[in-house]
């Protein structure tokens, strides 16, 4: 494996991890506030659909992004109503949201475009293009640093940079602001927030809304950044992987970066080496495809200790029984 190959694999990993990272951070806000969310998948899917539809209709990726966020937020609102306002079961609500998105996107897509749930392909401004960072081309020939800057760091869609910036931002918000303090508190012990005179409902809704926005960005990136339109079920389980990464990262933003990077990297490696020829035996593609999942289990069992979720997670806040 030469240097260029490593750069290419890392570059691929960065693209593959971006939707995971956004979704993972989305889940982080929600779960840190004590609202479990297995509906990340559904929100991303809905966002991918609305983003692609609006981007197609308007020819603007940015409007598509807004629509993606709106689509995802709509589902967030349902999740909030179910799990905060009506103190329902957060897991059931998440399952329902996944089903809802899976059905509605195709139903609406078929009604609007008649392509069996697909949207027409996006072109031009309807997609987020790749950004070339300043001096990327000039620096390309500098040994070592050049390729890293020009090929790995430069040349991604704006949403990739946004996703990476979200990591320090999330850290800062959670650990350096009043909002973050309250958010973490409401996920650990909502009664402490309530008795301090702060509304548990408002905080949790805020967290759920942020979750919706980030999922919306993740979905929009899938449909208008990485590909050029919506295809049914195009999230292909990424929401669940993001959830796994979140638990893996023990609900911490910087760890989330590494966890999603690991998933992206494993997938990129499996893409690059579809059949691993070990001389004696050739590992078949099925196993290379399953490799990221197998390695996750091994890493989890071997290196990551017990993951303790936010203490009030999954439980609706009930004052009066």
């Amino acid at each position: 494996m030469d240097f260029a190959t490593i750069i290419q694999i890392l570059d691929s990993a960065v693209r593959l991890m971006t939707p995971l990272l956004l979704a993972c951070l989305a889940g982080l806000y929600s779960e840190r506030a004590g609202v479990f969310d297995i509906g990340l998948e559904g929100k991303m899917l809905m966002a991918a659909f609305t983003a692609a539809s609006v981007a197609y209709a308007t020819g603007s990726a940015w409007l598509g992004l807004c629509a993606g966020v709106a689509g995802s937020l709509a589902l967030s609102l349902i999740h909030g109503l179910a799990s905060v306002t009506f103190r329902g079961n957060q897991l059931i609500s998440g399952v329902a949201i996944n089903f809802l998105a899976s059905g509605l996107t195709v139903l609406l897509g078929q009604k609007i475009f008649g392509l069996g749930g697909r949207t027409p392909s996006l072109t031009g401004q309807g997609r987020f293009g790749e950004i070339t960072l300043p001096f990327a081309n000039a620096l390309r020939d500098v040994p070592f640093i050049g390729p890293i800057y020009a090929d790995l760091i430069s040349g991604h869609s704006i949403l990739v940079y946004v996703a990476f910036l979200m990591v320090p931002l999330t850290w800062w918000v959670l650990f350096r602001t009043r909002f973050g303090l309250r958010l973490r508190a409401v996920g650990e012990n909502p009664a402490s927030v309530d008795t301090a005179g702060v509304s548990v409902t408002r905080l949790r809704f805020a967290a759920i809304a942020i979750c919706g926005i980030l999922c919306g960005m993740a979905g929009a990136y899938l449909a208008t950044g990485l590909s050029a339109g919506f295809v049914k079920e195009m999230t292909a389980g990424r929401g669940f992987i993001a959830l796994a990464a979140l638990i893996f990262a023990k609900w911490r933003p910087v760890s989330a970066l590494f966890a999603t990077f690991l998933f992206g990297l494993l997938e990129a490696i499996a893409n690059r080496y579809p059949n691993l020829d070990l001389g004696v035996i050739t590992i078949p593609s099925m196993f290379m495809n399953a490799l990221p999942y197998i390695l996750t289990v091994i890493i989890l069992a071997g290196f990551v200790g017990r993951a303790i979720p936010p203490r009030a997670g999954g439980e609706p806040y009930v004052k009066e029984r």
């Binding site: 012990n189 009664a191 927030v193 309530d194 005179g197 702060v198 029984r321």
Partner: protein
């Protein structure tokens, strides 16, 4: 409606300006009427006690005042002006602070973070934290409320956690401080310290409402006292005009024996022998250091000590579930048979089979499954016993019948075995555990904090049962941080400090002062009693009420 006038003794001063006035407060939780048309007047600058049985509605009333619950009816006046308390924020702004019975702290936050939560100065934390650090230092100096601001709550003892709660209220500049059973989890020394602080606060003109089950505390520190029963306010009276016996009767509705009458013990052969018991926990800290103890048939061995000195670990080992990741060494033998200290055969079920009953320190997380019904809980830990089973299945009918009989005998209220444990009040929850463990007639009963948070009626009842068990020739190991409890129940007292037995004493031949020194780790000199030179009762009265109206 019942008026204070029904009470013996004088009414609180009606003329003094009221810090708080409640009028006709009612509150129902579904079908449970927790507060019925309650009125209460608390004069400014006084300490006002509220007493009542478990479930009488004390906490509910205070939570309403603090804006935590919304009342169904009624009016709240603070400093004479009517206040619609919609949430805790309005209460806080009106100068009310509350320390809840179950602390409302975020376990993995630091002290500082807990203190500023909800009272931050701006959108960014740094300035708030800096200011709070300063204020905390000042408060610490002023009231001797020392806690490390950077310590994480879960690392703190309950006593310190409570200080944090008080600091929270003071940081919000509360003029009216509500404390709901603050001494339930405190050691005597900590309680004394708390009362000193409260007196200091009162001297500054602050008003304090204190809920407690301990009449001694009421007598020692309050100016006035109100009694609640079954959701109603039975009345209010000046403390100086009443007596503990009178209050106890008012509270429970019958005469209560405040002291267990018990005959001297007739100890038999040793039931449990503990030899050189040592425990090193996960982090390599030695929590038990060579414990040697004998517990004989027909005696109650009391273990006194400030909590956190190894009592919990000792009970857990005896109960068959030593702390995860710890290493235990030494020897245990029960009636001459060796008990394993780990691995196979060392679990709670096996210990029960050997004849060890166990009333755990924490009834809510260990002793009961809160979501199980009362009847299911009466078989908890004994679900393998033949009488609970018929063939491969559990004999639910038999368990239920047994549970109902137990509820009758132990007067557990409400008398509904199908209710989930969490719907019983603390005292009744404790009775469920006590009934389960005592009625099995174990050879050895381990008891941790049997009366924590339990009202005096129930305390009396539980104490009597423990003595009866002893009189039936069984061995009892009693762990409690309540010195009074230890002194009045035990036949022999061992004091634990830092994982060691500091010494053994006989209750009749020692004093709280001597025990206190042992508890503080001041070593076992010769058997010279009276190291502080003050007899037990006097010492407490001295400590609690320098003004001494009683």
């Amino acid at each position: 409606m019942t008026h204070a006038g029904d009470m013996p003794g004088g009414r609180p001063d009606e003329a003094a300006p009221a810090a708080i006035e409640l009028r006709g407060i009612s509150k129902a939780f579904g079908p449970v009427q927790a507060n019925k048309d309650i009125s209460l007047r608390v004069p400014k600058g006084t300490i006002h006690g509220i007493i009542g049985e478990n479930g009488a509605g004390k906490s509910t009333l205070m939570s309403i005042l603090y804006g935590f619950y919304k009342p169904d009816a009624g009016e709240i006046l603070v400093n004479g002006t009517s206040l619609t308390v919609t949430d805790s924020q309005t209460a806080i702004r009106a100068g009310i602070g509350m320390v809840f019975q179950h602390f409302k702290l975020v376990q993995n936050f630091t002290v500082l973070e807990n203190v500023i939560l909800g009272a931050e100065d701006g959108p960014l934390l740094r300035p708030s934290l800096a200011r709070a650090r300063g204020v905390l230092k000042q408060l610490a100096a002023e009231y001797e409320l020392n806690v490390d601001p950077d310590e994480v709550i879960e690392e703190l003892s309950v006593g310190h956690q409570q200080r944090v709660e008080i600091l929270k209220a003071l940081y919000r500049q509360a003029d009216i401080l509500i404390l709901d059973e603050p001494t339930g989890v405190l050691t005597p020394a900590e309680a004394d310290h708390l009362f000193r602080i409260l007196r200091g606060l009162k001297d500054e003109g602050k008003t304090i409402i204190l809920i407690t089950h301990k009449l001694r505390e009421i007598m020692a520190i309050t100016d006035n006292v109100s009694v609640m029963r079954r959701g109603e306010m039975v009345g209010s009276v000046q403390t100086a005009q009443t007596s503990p016996e009178e209050l106890a009767e008012l509270m429970v509705g019958r005469k209560v024996l405040l002291n267990v009458g018990k005959t001297p013990a007739r100890p038999g052969a040793p039931v449990l022998e503990i030899r050189d018991l040592t425990l090193v926990d996960e982090d390599g800290v030695e929590r038990l250091r060579g414990i040697d103890l004998d517990i004989r048939a027909g005696e109650i061995l009391g273990i006194a000590g400030v909590s956190g000195n190894g009592q919990t670990q000792l009970l857990e080992i005896l109960g068959g579930y030593p702390e995860k990741g710890s290493t235990v060494s030494g020897r245990l033998s029960l009636n001459g048979r060796e008990l394993p200290l780990g691995g196979r055969g060392c679990d709670g079920a096996e210990r029960r089979r050997q004849g060890i009953g166990h009333i755990p320190e924490d009834r809510q997380s260990e002793g009961l499954i809160m979501d199980f019904t009362a009847w299911e809980n009466t078989a908890f830990g004994y679900h393998h016993a033949p009488e609970c089973n018929r063939g491969p299945l559990m004999d639910n009918a038999a368990i239920l019948a047994d549970a109902e009989a137990k509820m009758e005998r132990f007067d557990i209220r409400p008398r509904n075995a199908h209710l989930a444990a969490r719907n019983f009040s603390g005292g009744n929850q404790q009775k469920i555990v006590v009934a389960r463990e005592i009625e099995r007639n174990p050879d050895l009963l381990l008891i941790g904090q049997p009366t924590r948070g339990v009202d005096i009626g129930a305390i009396e009842f539980i104490h009597r049962r423990i003595v009866e068990l002893r009189d039936a020739g069984k061995a009892v190991l009693l762990v409690s941080v309540e010195l009074d409890e230890i002194l009045s129940l035990s036949d022999r007292i061992a004091v634990m400090f830092d994982g060691r037995i500091m010494g053994e004493r006989l209750p009749g031949q020692t004093t709280t002062g001597e025990l206190g020194l042992l508890m503080a780790g001041i070593s076992d000199t010769e058997n010279t009693p009276d190291s502080a030179g003050i007899p037990p009762e006097t010492k407490h009265v001295e400590d609690l009420s320098p003004q001494g109206p009683a």
